[in-house]
Symmetry: C2
Subunit: 151 residues, 2 copies
C-alpha cells in the first residue's frame, strides 16, 4: 500500500465542537441508546504543554467520547482561551471540527506536512500520548488531527 503522507488512511475519530457538552452528550446518548459518557477536561498547560499557533496557551476543553463502530466520536466544548477549537467554533459555529489519524513519528509527520504548506495549528500532550492539529482545511476541507500513542 502506498501510505501517503500519514502512513495510513484509517480515520480513527471525528471531533465535533459544541457550546454545551452536557446537553449534546445527552442528546447523543439518547439518540444512539448508549449511556452518557463521563465528561473529562483536558490537562492544565503545565501538563498538556498546549501550544496554539506557536504560542503557549492555557486553553482547555471539556471532552466526551462515544465509540461508533471502529470510529470514536469526540465532543469538544472549549473554554474562551485561544485554541483551534475556540477559533473554529467562533468562525463556523457548532459542528464537525476534525478527523483524526494515528501516526508514528509525530515530529517527522508535522515537518513533512509543514513542507506541503499545511501548518501546525495546535499541539499538546495527554496521558499516554500527544496530538497535533494540522491546517489541512484548504486542501481537504477539514482539519486533520494526528495522534501518537506511547507504546
Amino acid at each position: 500500500m502506498n501510505s501517503g503522507l500519514l502512513g495510513n488512511h484509517f480515520i480513527t475519530q471525528i471531533g465535533i465542537v459544541v457550546n454545551d457538552i452536557e446537553k449534546t452528550s445527552q442528546a447523543y446518548a439518547d439518540f444512539f441508546g448508549v449511556n452518557k459518557p463521563d465528561t473529562i477536561i483536558t490537562d492544565t498547560v503545565d501538563i498538556a504543554q498546549t501550544e496554539y499557533r506557536g504560542n503557549s496557551s492555557v486553553a482547555r476543553a471539556k471532552l466526551a467520547f462515544f465509540n461508533m463502530g471502529s470510529l470514536q466520536l469526540e465532543l469538544i466544548e472549549p473554554d474562551l482561551h485561544p485554541s483551534t477549537w475556540r477559533e473554529y467554533l467562533d468562525e463556523h459555529g457548532e459542528g464537525p471540527h476534525h478527523i483524526a489519524f494515528v501516526v508514528e513519528g509525530m515530529k517527522e509527520k508535522i515537518t513533512l506536512l509543514e513542507g506541503k504548506q499545511m501548518q501546525l495549528l495546535q499541539k499538546g500532550e495527554y496521558t499516554g500520548g500527544r496530538y497535533a492539529y494540522m491546517d489541512t482545511f484548504k486542501e481537504l476541507k477539514v482539519i486533520v488531527e494526528l495522534l501518537e500513542n506511547d507504546k
Copy 2:
C-alpha cells in the same frame, strides 16, 4: 445492546461538501497515497425520485468515495438546484455535511425521527438502495443520513 433510534450506532460514512470535486478528490488522493477515484453523478430526478423539503427537486451532485478504514469518506459537489448539499454549502461553506448509518426499515425510521422533531430534509433512490437526510443538526450538531440497501 440498547439500539437507540436507528438500530445501530456504527458510522459508515462521512460526507463533505465541496466546490470543486476534482481538485479536492486529487488532494485526498495525494494526501493518503491512493488512486483518485472516479467521480460519479447522481441520477436524474426521474430515477432518483429526489425530494428536498417535501418537493421534487432536479438537483444532482457529483460524488467521489474514499475508503478510510471501515469508514467511507464521500466528497459531494452539488449543482445549483435546491438540495441539502447546496443549502449547507451556501450557509456553512465547504466542510463536513453528514455522518451516515445503515438502517433497516427506512420509512419507519423516518417516522420515528420525525416524531422526535427531527425532520426529513431530503430523500432519494440510488442503484441498490435509498437515502434520507434527517435534520438532526440542532441536537447532534451534524446531519444524520440514513442508508437502506436492498437485500
